[in-house]
Amino acid sequence: MNVLIDKFDVFAGGFWLTLQICILAAIGALVLGAIVAVLRISPVPPLRALGTGYVNVFRNMPLTVVMFFAAFGLPALGSNADFLRIPVLDSLFTRLGTDLPYFRFALIALVLYTAAFVCEALRSGVNAVPAGQAEAARSLGLTFGQNLRYVVLPQSWKASIVPLGSVIIAMIKNSALVGFFGVVGDLSQSADQLTSAEGYAFVPVALGISIGYLIMTVPLGTLLDRIEKRQAVAR
């Protein structure tokens, strides 16, 4: 069990790095997912097709493939994803600005993949608003934009929270994959490093790593359960 104490800084560092990826990817995925969701419900057919295509492609593809694309495809195109070296952010999240591009690649893959699910979560929220609401808004003469802004979206947030939350939980779990794609020092890569290269006993390391992930996922899951129960009563 000594490894948990001796290498506490490795576990803590891994946890912090995983948390960084999750925060950045969650922000990116929420923004991109919202854009795709708007595309998917827009009245212009080509944009709708683009949104639908995006969701179908990324939802049906393993994240592993997306990661491979980002980690091997982007370098083949000569890109180091330098556009992610955002001035203020990279002083806060130092990995964004490093010369090794794998953190940025992993981030891109995670955002692209999760955005498809975010889009579906948002859309399921819009679908959950009773049709009569939108119809009433239309008969008042509101346009598409006004209809969304004043009537549908304010109500759909509520129904979107729980699906969005489970998408974020799934994303946190998916972020474990980045350790196998060249990101050094996150929780899952630390597991590999400690057990194989540094030869620590397997069980305590596995325990420590698991706790790291459970700290993030279980409270969020419990919170969602509670919100869901409360909503069920309110409805």
């Binding site: 419900i41 009245p43 212009v44 057919p45 080509p46 639908t52 179908n56 492609v57 939802r59 049906n60 593809m61 393993p62 994240l63 592993t64 493939v65 694309f69 091997f72 495809g73 083949a76 195109l77 000569g78 993949y113 699910f117 579906e120 979560a121 399921s124 049709a131 939108a134 239309r138 346009t143 598409f144 209809n147 969304l148 729980v162 699906p163 489970s166 998408v167 939980i169 799934a170 779990k173 998916n174 972020s175 474990a176 994959l177 196998f180 899952s188 597991a191 397997f202 069980v203 596995a206 790593i209 698991s210 992930y213 459970l214 996922t217 279980v218 899951g221 969602l224 359960d225 869901e228």
Partner: protein, 324 residues
């Protein structure tokens, strides 16, 4: 889809149709130009569209064509085998888990009248404890990334002197996660059933085990079928994680091909298309089943059932997976 969007705006009149047409054309042009400059041009400049790189994958007369596709076929077969084994195992374990949790929950609420008081308390405490333990197990395994369960199984089993094929590590790792998810799907399906079902069953003299087996489980399976099929998609996607324990599935084979031919983008495009085709058909199947079930329920005129919790449904869809 068309029905859903039409709720948000009126059936377009002539002017609106004109506006839509014009904006469609403009948006289409913008998309095409964007695709040309952002996708086609960079690919072309780097020579990624050359026949040298694509040839082995799309040109039957290429010397490597049959070999490459033989390997990809083998990899895809391995992917399907692992996915099939994992889904069957998860279904079995998940069903057992769901039944166990339901039984334990009802046991822990029983008062055991007719037994000596200390014994009754002991039994009650024991079933409460077991129920808590299963609950914690479910929470833990649901909260762990699938990558890690696979990794832990592959690293941990040899540690305890259990040596298996890579296939088994992958299947066990996937099963640990997915059986818990499927168990929760089924459990919420059973708990969502109207209370009258179980009451009627015990009224005609069925034992609790019979009630679960003959009344609750079949209905739960039926309601949860779409979610279960979506979970199948998740499992299929998650088998691609086999590459971390060097199981020879599609992606691993892809890596070998790339090692020989040095065409990563092309190989990954082909593999992505394979996955998308299979998974898209599966999710269409799930939608079809859902629509049929909805129709069947309406005509059968059964009382409105509680829909499964959204968190579970969307987790099954995304899972992300889960997992994905």
């Amino acid at each position: 889809m068309s029905q859903q969007t039409s709720v948000l705006y009126d059936v377009p009149g002539p002017r609106q149709r004109r506006i839509t047409l014009i904006s469609s054309v403009v948006a289409g042009l913008v998309l095409l130009v964007g695709a040309y400059f952002l996708i086609y041009r960079p690919l072309d400049e780097k020579g990624q569209l050359s026949m040298e790189l694509w040839g082995p994958l799309v040109d039957p007369s290429n010397e490597n064509f049959s070999l490459v596709w033989e390997r990809i076929g083998l990899g895809f077969k391995n992917t399907l085998i692992a996915a099939a084994m994992a889904i069957v195992a998860s279904l079995v374990v998940g069903t057992l888990l769901a039944v166990l949790r339901i039984q334990l929950k009802s046991l822990s609420q029983r008062t055991f009248t007719g037994l000596a008081t200390p014994l009754a308390y002991l039994l009650r405490g024991l079933s409460w404890l077991l129920s808590a333990v299963t609950r914690v197990c479910v929470e833990v395994f649901r909260g762990l990334p699938v990558v890690l369960t696979i990794f832990f199984v592959a690293r941990g089993f040899p540690e305890f002197g259990v040596y298996l094929d890579n296939l088994w590590y992958l299947v066990i790792g996937l099963t640990v996660y997915n059986s818990v998810v499927i168990g929760e799907i089924l459990r919420s399906g059973m708990e969502g059933l109207p209370g009258g079902q179980a009451e009627a069953a015990s009224a005609i003299g069925l034992s609790p085990a019979q009630t679960t087996r003959m009344i609750l489980l079949p209905q739960a399976f039926r309601i949860m079928l779409p979610a279960l099929i979506s979970q199948l998609v998740v499992v299929l996607k998650d088998t691609s994680l086999g590459f971390i324990i060097s199981y020879e599935e599609t992606l691993n084979i892809g890596k070998q091909i790339i090692g020989a031919l040095e065409n990563p983008i092309q190989v990954y495009v082909v593999i992505a298309v394979l996955f998308i085709v299979v998974n898209y058909s599966l999710s269409k199947l799930a939608q079809y089943v859902q629509r049929r079930l909805a129709r069947g329920r309406k005509t059968a005129n059964t009382p409105a059932q509680n829909p499964p919790p959204a968190a579970l449904m969307s987790q099954a869809e995304g899972g992300a997976g889960t997992g994905f």
